[in-house]
């Protein structure tokens, strides 16, 4: 891990810690349910789960303000839930139903919410990086003080357009936070086999963009890094890079048998570094919550997820007329 890794725990209230627990648990349970619905054939095509990476988006969002924008890749369910998009609407999009956030026309990889300033959900690896810088360009043009969280993976970090974007974001001082979610595997290719450096954030140095590595399994470390990054961007100093080192427990997509890593590697991460378990321990040992309190939250989340699945199952398929709508504004 890099030299600039934060070891200091930020101040956090019991209330905020509980919120992190709740938000991360919602993503975890939602994704487990999505996996289940996929197994039942209710969700088709590709389905990329966020399980294991929950602390990344929840920690980043902790420093977001009203009107800040976010954009990410096709592994997008967690980001949508974290910025407050309706779980039922997300799940119904996964099942391709009328009640989905894109009326069933986008699917797992292509979802948007103007209301929550969530700009997708992009299926082309790396494409969201210049798009995110463009969103930041629009904010700078309007002078509204907003920032854009632009998420991409360690795999996308090898796309040429990422560096074209770093260059322009730097020369134009765009208020964009490049969040590299390094889950260590670009689909099935381990980082060491695909990427010239173990510390991807250092690639910003050539463009004069400051960056740091962050422990992505520790939501408080991510939150602290997000506060530094947003402060930098809001002060007009231009872009900032956060390489958040994380881990996905599941395969790249539902059809990935994940033979490129050992079961032990995954189990070790799950049992020793799990982001939700870490917060659960903090809540209990800090006496911020009792087992009963947490059980109540678990139950409440389970109910939200079950309702989202029920909605996704019962919402009708889109009317055939929808085939021909939304092609032109």
């Amino acid at each position: 891990m890099a030299a600039r890794k934060s070891t200091k725990k930020p101040n956090v209230s019991a209330e905020e810690l509980t919120k992190f627990y709740r938000d991360m648990l919602l993503i975890r349970r939602f994704e487990e349910k999505a996996g289940q619905l996929y197994g039942m054939g209710l969700i088709g095509g590709f389905c990329h789960l966020y399980i294991g990476q929950e602390a990344v988006v929840v920690g980043l969002e902790a420093a977001a303000e009203d009107g800040d924008k976010r954009i990410t890749s096709y592994r997008d369910h967690g980001h949508m839930l974290a910025c407050g998009m309706d779980a039922g609407g997300v799940m119904a999009e996964l099942t391709g139903r009328e009640g989905g956030l894109s009326k069933g026309k986008g699917g797992s990889m292509h979802m948007f919410s103007k209301e929550k300033h969530f700009y997708g959900g992009h299926g082309i690896v790396g494409a969201q990086v210049p798009l995110g810088a463009g969103l930041a360009f629009s904010d700078k043009y309007k002078g509204n003080g907003r920032v854009t969280f632009t998420y991409f993976g360690d795999g996308a970090a090898n796309q040429g357009q990422v560096y074209e974007t770093f260059n322009m974001a730097a020369i134009w001082d765009l208020p964009v936070i490049f969040v590299i979610e390094n889950n260590q595997y670009a689909m099935g290719t381990a980082q060491a086999r695909s990427t010239s450096t173990p510390d991807i954030y250092t690639r910003g140095e050539a463009f004069g963009i400051p960056g740091e590595a962050v422990d992505g399994m520790d939501v408080l470390a991510v939150k602290a890094a997000s506060e530094r990054a947003t402060a930098h961007c809001r002060s007009g100093k231009g872009p900032y890079i956060l390489e958040v080192k994380t881990y996905r427990y599941r395969g790249h997509s539902m059809s990935d048998p994940a033979k490129y890593r050992t079961r032990e590697e995954v189990q070790k991460m799950r049992s020793e570094r799990d982001p939700i378990e870490q917060v659960r321990d903090m809540l209990l040992t800090g006496k911020h919550a009792t087992e009963e309190d947490l059980k109540a939250i678990d139950k409440e989340i389970k109910e939200v997820v079950n309702q989202s699945a029920e909605f996704a199952r019962t919402s009708p398929e889109p009317a055939l007329e929808e085939l021909w709508t939304d092609i032109y504004a």
Binding site: K33, G35, Y38, M40, G41, L42, G44, G45, I71, G100, L101, S102, K103, K105, G106, H110, M111, F112, S113, K114, Y119, G120, G121, G123, I124, A127, V129, P130, L131, A133, G134, L135, A136, F137, S138, Y141, K142, G160, Q161, E164, T165, N167, M168, Y249, M254, S255, P257, K259, R263, R313, E317, L320, E321, L323, W324, T325, D326, I327, Y328, A329
Partner: protein, 455 residues
């Protein structure tokens, strides 16, 4: 409550699989993430994990079973303390996909027996003062006028600001609008096309100038995957109100990599609008419409036409609508359809043909998507013969699309096969004589019209 564990679909194409191995047995307690079984799909052997916690009540499908259909119950999961053979809850079946035929596209196609209704009204009122203007000035004026009226419109591209435009289209814009709105980019088409598309998602109205459309090949992923498709993929929530413009097609003696006509490529994409003007008034009126359009617009200019002068009306707020062809010359013996610089050959050919006593009607499509096919059909119903003219390559050309539509919509009116005059099916050569032959020529158009009129 007991729940059934169902045979999972573990790939987008899996319909059945082999339950290779059970890793749990009845009575085992499992929690979320535990591996229950190994399942062979059509692609790979997958580990199948528990989603819920509980106790395995009963194994329903023995290991080694082949051809187990997706969604078949393979085991029963009960809660701790519950009877092992509790009845599972009903439900969970996948919905039956509706199989009615999809509705046809809402087309305005005319039945062959009806004359299509078309609007061939003039672009400006009779008596309006006109000014001789070059295509270059007309494009600049269009951008300047729209930038004056909408502060969210900005221009970005290589050499558009301080250099005043590689082809001097943006002359004077930096002085009037400043560096915030007239932005020099690095030479990085993929990146700045993406940034501009993101800015459009963010509520601005970018005009992206490509030094030529040949270089837009580096950016075509953002033009199509990001700009053209987002409105549809977002269920209408957000799109990209923007213009991608620049010279397209052959200039003169610049060789294969700088001389390609992309009209047919972009015309194929739903979500894009595609404009290819010939005259200066169309360049101005259509570019103003493009900047105001809430969709991504591909605006294909031509370097050779930049310096040509045409009448442009002296009017406030002059625009030309999309999807309205212009009839440049009325005729009765054959219809020539073209667009962009192809119009030069079409009009020259019509002059030559007139000298031979053949009356050709010449139609400028002006926009390729939407395309004013009704005007073409109506003309073919009168002349019964059709020749299309373009500089692009023959296979999958704009002309071949028009020919297929005319055949389907007005077959009974055709007295000769449609001829599509195109550039030759070769990369553009450099040598002057070879280049001349690679491009479409006026004589080829004349010969084609004589062929369809059997002269």
């Amino acid at each position: 409550m007991a729940t059934e564990i169902l045979m999972p679909a573990l790939s987008p194409t899996m319909e059945e699989g082999t339950l290779a191995k059970w890793l749990v047995k009845a009575g085992d307690t499992v929690s979320s993430g535990d591996i229950l079984a190994e399942i062979e799909t059509d692609k790979a052997t997958m580990e199948f994990e528990a989603v819920d916690e509980g106790v395995i009540g009963k194994i329903l499908i023995a290991e080694g079973s082949e051809g187990v259909k997706v969604n078949t119950p393979i085991a029963v999961l009960v809660e701790e303390g519950e009877s092992l053979d509790a009845t599972p809850a009903a439900g969970n079946e996948a919905p039956v996909a509706g199989a009615p035929t999809a509705p046809a596209a809402p087309v305005a196609a005319a039945a062959a027996s009806d004359t299509p209704v078309v609007d061939n009204s003039p672009d400006w009122p009779e008596g309006t003062e006109v000014v001789k203007t070059t295509v270059r000035e007309a494009l600049r004026d269009a951008m300047a006028e729209e930038m004056r009226s909408n502060e969210n419109v900005f221009l970005m591209g290589e050499e558009v600001a301080e250099y005043q435009g590689a082809y001097k289209i943006s002359q004077g814009l930096l002085d009037e609008f400043g560096a915030k709105r007239v932005i020099d980019t690095p030479i990085t088409e993929h990146g700045f096309a993406g940034i501009a598309t993101g800015a459009a998602f963010g509520g601005l109205n970018p005009i992206v100038e490509f030094m030529t459309f040949n270089f837009a090949m580096q950016a075509i992923d953002h033009i199509i995957n990001s700009a053209a498709k987002t409105l549809y993929m977002s269920g209408g929530q957000m799109g990209a109100p923007m213009v991608f413009r620049g010279p397209n097609g052959a200039a003169a003696r610049v060789g294969a990599q700088h001389s390609q006509d992309y009209a047919a490529w972009y015309m194929q994409v739903p979500g894009l609008k595609v404009v290819m003007p010939y005259s200066a008034s169309d360049a101005k009126g259509l570019l103003k419409s493009a900047i105001r359009d809430p969709n991504p617009v591909i605006f294909l200019e031509n370097e050779i036409l930049y310096g040509r002068s045409f009448d442009v009306p002296k009017m406030d707020n002059f625009t030309v609508p999309f999807g309205k062809a212009r009839i440049w010359r009325e005729g009765s013996d054959a219809t020539i359809v073209s667009f962009g610089i192809g119009m030069q050959y079409a009009l020259e050919a019509a002059d030559k043909l007139a000298a031979d006593g053949i009356s050709a009607e010449v139609i400028d499509l002006r926009t390729l998507r939407p395309m004013d096919l009704p005007t073409v059909i109506k003309s073919v119903m009168k002349t019964n013969r059709l020749v299309t003219v373009e500089e692009g390559w023959p296979q999958g050309s704009v002309g071949s699309y028009i020919a297929s539509e005319v055949m389907q919509q007005a077959f009974d009116y055709l007295d000769a096969p449609v001829i599509t005059c195109t550039g030759k099916d070769v990369p553009m050569p450099y040598a002057a004589n070879l280049e001349r032959h690679a491009l479409i020529t006026t004589d080829e158009v004349v010969a084609a019209v004589k062929q369809v009129t059997y002269r």
